[in-house]
């Protein structure tokens, strides 16, 4: 058992999410920085579907009542060695503390966090308030059982630095134009690409609100359409809402461009005040970016 001594700012149980249920209004959810989460599980030798903890801005304090092996990845925690397997002796505590650079830290425990599957996943869903063991973020005093989802030995050496994503902004985030590109003037996307967008404090697992200093995009509402994580919605006031994994499954603001799957991990680590530049790429470049990350994962099998 692992005891939650302090919760941190917003700590939830996540896994790879529950894709395929959007037609019921349920977004896929799962870890926002999917890459860091997959790596954390790999380091401790877990199956890729094992559940772990996602911490935001400030992490929890955990007490282990039996020996464990953990890995901390994603946004940097000063409280422990990051990106490597760390033994945690019975009776010891892990203090994640403040997260920086980056915003979200993952804590994988060898065996995985054992909570019931809800709709095929252990992830906490913010919109539906279900899953994640408690149907809410972790609270002080919660006890977390360790599961039996270890399948490989823990990695003996730290995850290679050359196989990690940038830890801090300014961020360059690659996008595919559309799907509602025709709701905008022809120069709108190039002008967005030339703008240093600013992340506001309004960030959660559903999405990030951003400002576009010096640029006022024009957009009208559209007939409700399905939405994806990474969709850059333009609101009638000209602001941006970039949807993330717990996004609304449908929406009525036009989407000027969509962040590629590989770069959703970068957005998960963007902090309020960071600048983001959206760079328009084609599908071939997006496929290469995806292959690069999956290639890193294969190299470290």
């Amino acid at each position: 058992m692992i005891e939650v001594v302090e919760t941190g700012r917003w700590t939830t149980i996540q896994d790879r999410g529950r894709p395929g249920l959007e037609r019921f209004g349920i977004s896929s959810g799962g870890a926002t920085d999917w890459f860091a989460a997959v790596v954390a599980n790999r380091i401790v030798g877990n199956h890729q579907d094992a559940a772990l903890l996602e911490c935001t801005a400030g992490g929890p304090t955990l007490r282990f009542d039996s020996d464990a092996v953990i890995a901390v990845t994603g946004g940097h925690s000063a409280g422990v060695a990051n990106w490597q397997a760390v033994p945690s002796a019975r009776g010891s505590s892990l203090i994640v503390g403040r997260i920086a650079p980056g915003l979200r830290t993952y804590i994988a425990v060898r065996g995985g966090i054992d909570v019931p599957l809800v709709l095929g996943s252990r992830s906490f869903s913010q919109r539906g308030s279900f899953g994640g063991g408690f149907g809410r973020p972790l609270a002080k005093g919660d006890g977390l059982a360790v599961g039996r989802m270890a399948e490989l030995e823990p990695m003996a050496t730290p995850w290679p630095e050359s196989h990690r994503l940038p830890a801090r902004g300014p961020w360059e985030v690659r996008v595919i134009a559309g799907p509602q590109q025709d709701a905008f003037s022809a120069d709108a996307l190039p002008r967005l690409g030339a703008t240093a967008c600013r992340v506001t404090p309004e960030i959660d697992r559903m999405g990030l609100r951003m400002e576009t200093p010096g640029l006022r995009l024009q957009a009208k509402e559209i007939l409700t359409v399905p939405m994806t994580a990474g969709a850059i919605q333009v609101t009638p006031s000209g602001g941006l809402i970039v949807l993330h994994v717990d996004h609304q499954s449908t929406g009525g603001y036009p989407v000027i461009a969509t962040v590629i799957g590989a770069d959703l991990s970068l957005l998960a680590q963007a902090r309020p005040g960071d600048t983001v530049r959206f760079r328009s790429v084609d599908l071939a470049e997006a496929a290469r970016a995806w292959r690069r990350l999956t290639g890193w994962l294969e190299l470290n099998q």
């Binding site: 919109r127 539906g128 559309g178 799907p179 499954s249 449908t250 969509t258 799957g261």
Partner: protein, 211 residues
Amino acid sequence: MWQIAPAGDQALLVTVGRAIDPTLLGEILALDQALADSRPTGLISTVPAYASLLCHYDPEATDPARLEASIRRLEGQLEGSVPFGAVVDIPTRYDGPDLADVALQTNLAPAGVVAAHAGREYLVYCVGFAPGFTYCGALPDQLAVPRLASPRLRVSAGSIGIAGRQTGIYAVESPGGWNLIGRTALRLFDPAADPPARFRPGDRLRFVPTS
């Protein structure tokens, strides 16, 4: 002509129109069914809404051009009508916090708003936004009012709202910008149920006033 556009690098969005129209919904549902039957390589799941269908694919199993070609082959081949199903009654208490305001905006008495809202059958066009949220149309013209200027942070499950030519039922507590005119005790979302949402696009329902 169907518009098929990338929605990022792992989904395609098929758009067949831009109106709340039973014929367009029928076309989308027929396309959805045809793809479920033919299962093109790499297609993972689909999401229907009004006049569009989102197709999630595995970029390692297919490429978007190939998937687009499989979808295009179905254009013009589908029978585009909504299957006729039973009409489900939604017992409704018309005591929403915005009922009086909607009455003012529409020059009706509150009882007139209720009569106009309850007096017809609706088609479910989409389940989306939040888990189980049920979008229905079309609302009579005389009830068309804009969304609230400032959305509520919390709308409770079972609330029934209107906005534009749409009416909808909140299935879980969520933020919301629609004008709330009533509520139902029916449970529309249950993560332990299969399927987890009570309604799906193409279903028909009507609101039945209760006291």
